[in-house]
């Protein structure tokens, strides 16, 4: 591993730590301040019941939206940095971008893809709630669509991203 690659890895580790730390803050503050339930069997039972209880899923979508938003922003900052290496030296740029082909980075890219798909689709859902005046039921159904798009899109993307290293 070259110095440039090591520095990039450190930057990426920082992004990962930021995402995890923010996730912990969100969940802990939700537990302390929020009206939401604790992650418990009672919550799972509520999510399994049709009707108003299932709207609780939207609270967790809100948390995930925040965490994925921070993750995307942090990664974007790192990515702007590593792409701008091209201005400094093409060799260093190539060295750093070889890291993207490693197995750990590919796995991280799958996570990034999920974050990107979820954040985008959920953002569009929130816009639709306003524009189409979606109520509790409609908004919950739209969230099922968001989750479906995110999961299916991630699986398809994962086949392309991980394909070369699995084969």
């Amino acid at each position: 591993m070259t110095v440039a690659q090591f520095v990039f890895f450190c930057g990426f580790a920082l992004v990962a730590v930021a995402i995890v730390a923010f996730g912990v803050v969100v969940v802990r503050s939700a537990r302390r301040d929020d009206g939401g339930p604790f992650v418990s069997r009672a919550l799972m039972a509520r999510l399994a019941r049709p009707g108003r209880d299932r709207a609780e899923l939207q609270r967790w979508a809100f948390y995930l939206h925040r965490v994925s938003g921070l993750g995307l922003f942090a990664f974007l900052c790192l990515h702007v940095g590593d792409v701008s290496l091209y201005v400094i030296s093409r060799e260093i740029y190539d060295e750093v971008h070889q890291v993207y082909g490693s197995v750990p980075m590919r796995l991280a890219e799958v996570g990034l893809l999920f974050g990107l798909l979820f954040h985008t689709a959920n953002g569009l859902r929130l816009v639709t709630v306003d524009l189409a005046d979606l109520g509790l039921t409609g908004s919950t159904r739209a969230l099922y669509g968001v989750l479906g798009i995110s999961v299916v899109g991630t699986l398809v993307g994962a086949a392309f991203i991980l394909g070369p290293v699995i084969a």
């Binding site: 503050s29 929020d34 009206g35 604790f38 418990s40 108003r52 709207a55 709630v129 109520g135 919950t140």
Partner: protein
């Protein structure tokens, strides 16, 4: 934990009640005898009567009118007097409302909720030229009018603060007027007899107004009177591009 609380829960005959206490050394787990049907308020009263008279909670009317007994049961903000404990439930956890300062055990200071409520001037302000007074004719909104259809489903708020506690923004001490106040603002803005629309629109359009809502829908899901504060917020936001009152 007391001796009774360590006994096995007996096939629905006993109910384990966990109450969040404000004093760290206060007992928080209790086993009470099941009655059927049994509300959360019944369980709390049984705890107070049979185990610890110092457990603090509020209640008054017992019929879901006063909005006094709101607590969180397994995370959900509910009226204790109106919430049945399902027959197959053997344990419940009762917490004070979220986002409001705890006075003691399950009693919270609802001051921040009422402060937000007051910020939207929650009463009808008649116009200067309105015919008011004992001899005035009552101003009528026809029962079948669009105005009435907008207003009616949003009335009947009892100020229980379940929506405030269920809101991921208001309860997290962020600067947000909250669902109940915005629901009340929508009712008065939609009312053609009211003359303080401009003032209310300034409040709901400000930084702490409708744009703070992230459509978590905790408010509409939790409202014990079946109101839809999130719908009121959508209506207020929709005024920008639909132009309705």
């Amino acid at each position: 934990m007391g001796e009774a609380a360590t006994a096995d829960t007996n096939a629905g005959e006993l109910l384990r009640v966990t109450v969040t206490r404000s004093a760290d050394d206060a007992r928080s787990e209790f086993l009470v005898t099941r009655i059927r049907p049994m509300t959360v308020l019944d369980a709390l009263l049984a705890v107070q009567r049979e185990h610890d008279p110092a457990v603090a909670f509020r209640f008054s009317c017992r019929v879901g009118m006063c909005g006094t007994c709101t607590v969180r049961v397994d995370g959900r903000s509910v009226l204790a007097c109106q919430t049945d404990i399902p027959a197959d439930t053997v344990r419940i956890r009762v917490d004070p409302l979220a986002g409001l300062p705890v006075v003691r055990d399950l009693i919270v200071d609802t001051g921040p909720f009422w402060q937000a409520w007051g910020s939207v001037r929650p009463y009808l302000v008649p116009g200067e030229d309105a015919d008011v007074g004992m001899d005035g004719e009552p101003a009528v909104i026809a029962p079948d009018s669009a105005e009435r259809r907008a207003i009616d489903p949003a009335l009947d708020c009892i100020g229980c603060a379940a929506c405030f506690s269920s809101c991921g923004i208001a309860s997290a001490h962020r600067d947000f007027v909250g669902p109940a106040a915005l629901n009340r603002a929508m009712v008065l803005i939609a009312d053609s007899r009211d003359d303080a629309t401009a003032e209310r629109l300034r409040v709901v359009g400000a930084e702490s107004g409708v744009d703070r809502c992230h459509y978590i829908y905790g408010c509409s899901a939790a409202c014990p009177k079946g109101l839809d504060p999130a719908g009121a917020i959508r209506r207020l936001r929709g005024r920008r591009f639909r132009g309705d009152r």
